[in-house]
């Protein structure tokens, strides 16, 4: 196991929604240049953990560290400026905006710098061309680049959301089931992208239900069951069955 300081560490995270104990003391660490698979059955608490890390929910108890330093991630903006990017399960796309506008939403390229942020002028042309480049590099086909994303297919939308996170990630990228709605080709592209992000030295947390992808990509896997961490191992063909029984809780 990697002994360097993890890029992202979570200690004893607890989160409760009313009567539901979504997280009951989960700890994990993601290191730069590795893909950590976060596994678990439906309702295990994976999305909840992700939302706590990315500042959408606040933890009831526990601590989050970036590069070994405890940080207060109280808002999504704080998470983003700490270098953590997230692709949410519901994508968080704006139906009324174009792909390029979606890309830069919340951190528009703008100037001049001496103005307060809200009053800066948008550099629309620069944003359009950068976004087009990225989309192109990912070989995603979009019907129209200047139309709102409202009517794009599930796969097209997912591709836009993944590309957005890839573009802005500095330290950690979290992907909550990024290939769930994708076809073969787009899935492949997302997986390649994840490998590329890893090569760039980012820490990646990948949530997926697809065992093939886990075995292909993940350097390590953490398994949640009903809000508890029940296992951690290096997934490969040989221990696939063990992993599956951890996930469904048959081992307990």
């Amino acid at each position: 196991m990697n002994t360097s300081t993890p890029a992202l560490a979570v200690h004893q995270a607890r989160k409760r929604f009313g009567a539901v104990d979504a997280l009951r003391g989960v700890s994990l660490a993601a290191h730069a240049g590795e893909v950590l698979a976060l596994l678990g059955d439906n309702g295990a608490g994976k999305s909840t953990l992700v939302k706590c890390i990315s500042g959408v929910h606040a933890l009831d108890e526990g601590e989050i560290q970036i590069d070994g330093v405890p940080v207060a991630i109280s808002t999504p903006a704080a998470a983003r400026s700490a270098g953590v990017e997230t692709v949410y399960q519901d994508l968080a796309l704006f139906d009324n905006l174009t792909p390029a506008q979606n890309f830069y939403c919340g951190r528009e390229l703008s100037g001049p710098a001496w103005l307060p942020r809200g009053l800066r002028f948008l550099s629309s042309r620069a944003m359009d061309s950068h976004a087009a480049e990225i989309i192109d590099r990912l070989k995603v086909k979009l019907p129209k680049f200047d139309a709102p994303v409202a009517l794009m297919s599930g796969g097209q939308r997912q591709a836009i959301a993944v590309a957005r996170a890839a573009m802005f990630a500095r330290k950690v990228v979290i992907l909550d089931e990024p290939t769930a709605a994708l076809g073969l080709r787009e899935s492949r592209k997302v997986l390649d992208l994840i490998l590329q992000l890893r090569a760039e030295g980012k820490a990646i947390i990948l949530i997926t239900h697809n065992m093939e992808h886990v075995i292909e990509l993940a350097d390590r896997a953490v398994v949640l069951l009903q809000g508890r961490k029940v296992g951690e191992l290096k997934p490969d063909r040989t221990n696939q069955q063990e992993l599956v029984s951890m996930i469904v809780g048959a081992g307990a």
Partner: protein, 326 residues
């Protein structure tokens, strides 16, 4: 250019087309309508609704509603009239009105956002009531206070190049808001918040401040509307702006924006306001009696909106035909 693509181009001009149709019909009905004097009248009569509707539009862009604009405007004119009694200075009086408007807007926004209210309806309804009460309480003699500095009067009541000065105020406000919403970061954020508030939070947009600022701008617009109205009447009155909230919301919606949030632009508010102004003016010119005016306004509004629905439908059809040919 084929017939279809020409038709398409015409159709895409949208509610403007409906307005144009309305103007053609009316100018056949009454010869007074297209007189230059009357056009200036319409512009002057519409100025207040147009200015306030543009602010309302921003609030509607964020999925909200501002019921307080009319009462806010009344309060601002009263404060302006009080300021005039203290200092015969246009700067002071205008500032008093605009700042009052902005403050009321800030109260709306802050209570709504930080009071975690489920919808702005209640707080803006409450400020409607409070502002009317305050305006009546503050107005000397609880009634209209006459007198405005010269420059304010000229804003509301004088003409340059055949257009009323208030027209240029409308123009200026529209230009500023157009820059703000279309060219600045704040505008992008407003559309994002209106389009999907949860996603806006996730993307790190300061959603609360965007919301508060929309209400502040709506309040500022009410304050600017107050300047124009006070200039036009050379007075401040606690009775001004009655039902202005419904007029401005109607203008925004007739103009083609949507309650769903994140859709529409400033032009929609302007066109809607002019449409309402044109209809009222025409009914006055035609000497239609009040009862029938009410009926007619209702019917014309529905016809205008239905016309737009039909237009959208035709537009979609035409696009399909055009694509089929390509």
């Amino acid at each position: 250019m084929t017939a279809v693509s020409l038709g398409l181009r015409l159709l895409s001009v949208g509610p403007l087309l409906i307005l144009f149709a309305l103007i053609v019909v009316i100018s056949f009905l009454t010869p007074h309508f297209l007189k230059p004097g009357n056009i200036s009248n319409i512009l002057a009569q519409t100025a207040v609704i147009a200015i306030v509707a543009m602010g309302q539009h921003l609030v509607i862009l964020t999925r909200g509603i501002d019921l307080s604009v009319g009462a806010n405007l009344a309060l601002a004119t009263v404060i302006g009239a009080l300021a005039y009694r203290v200092a015969d200075s246009s700067v002071v009086v205008i500032l008093a009105m605009v700042v009052t408007g902005g403050l009321v807007g800030a109260v709306n926004g802050i209570v709504y956002v930080f009071g975690r209210l489920p919808h702005p309806f209640i707080i803006t309804l409450a400020t409607l009531s409070v502002c009317r009460g305050l305006a009546l309480e503050f107005a000397v003699g609880h009634t209209t206070m006459r007198g405005m500095p010269d420059f304010v009067s000229s804003l509301g009541g004088s003409w340059i190049f055949g257009a009323p000065n208030s027209f240029f105020v409308v123009f200026g406000v529209a230009a500023i808001l157009l820059v703000l919403t279309r060219m600045m970061v704040w505008g992008r954020w407003t559309y994002a918040v209106g389009g999907k508030p949860e996603a806006a939070v996730q993307m790190g947009i300061p959603v609360r401040w965007v919301l508060v600022s929309a209400y502040v701008i709506s309040g500022l617009c009410a304050g600017i509307g107050a300047v124009v109205l006070a200039g036009r009447t050379q007075a401040g009155s606690p009775l001004y702006g009655n039902l202005l909230e419904l007029d401005t919301i109607a203008a925004v919606i007739i103009g083609g924006a949507s309650f769903l949030g994140g859709r529409g632009h400033i032009g929609h508010a302007l066109i809607g306001a002019v449409m309402i102004g044109v209809i009222r003016n025409a009914l006055n010119l035609l000497g239609v009696d009040v009862f029938f005016q009410m009926i007619a306004i209702g019917l014309v509004i529905v016809i205008a909106v239905e016309g737009d629905v039909l237009r959208n439908h035709l537009e979609a059809r035409a696009r399909t035909m055009q694509a089929g040919r390509a």
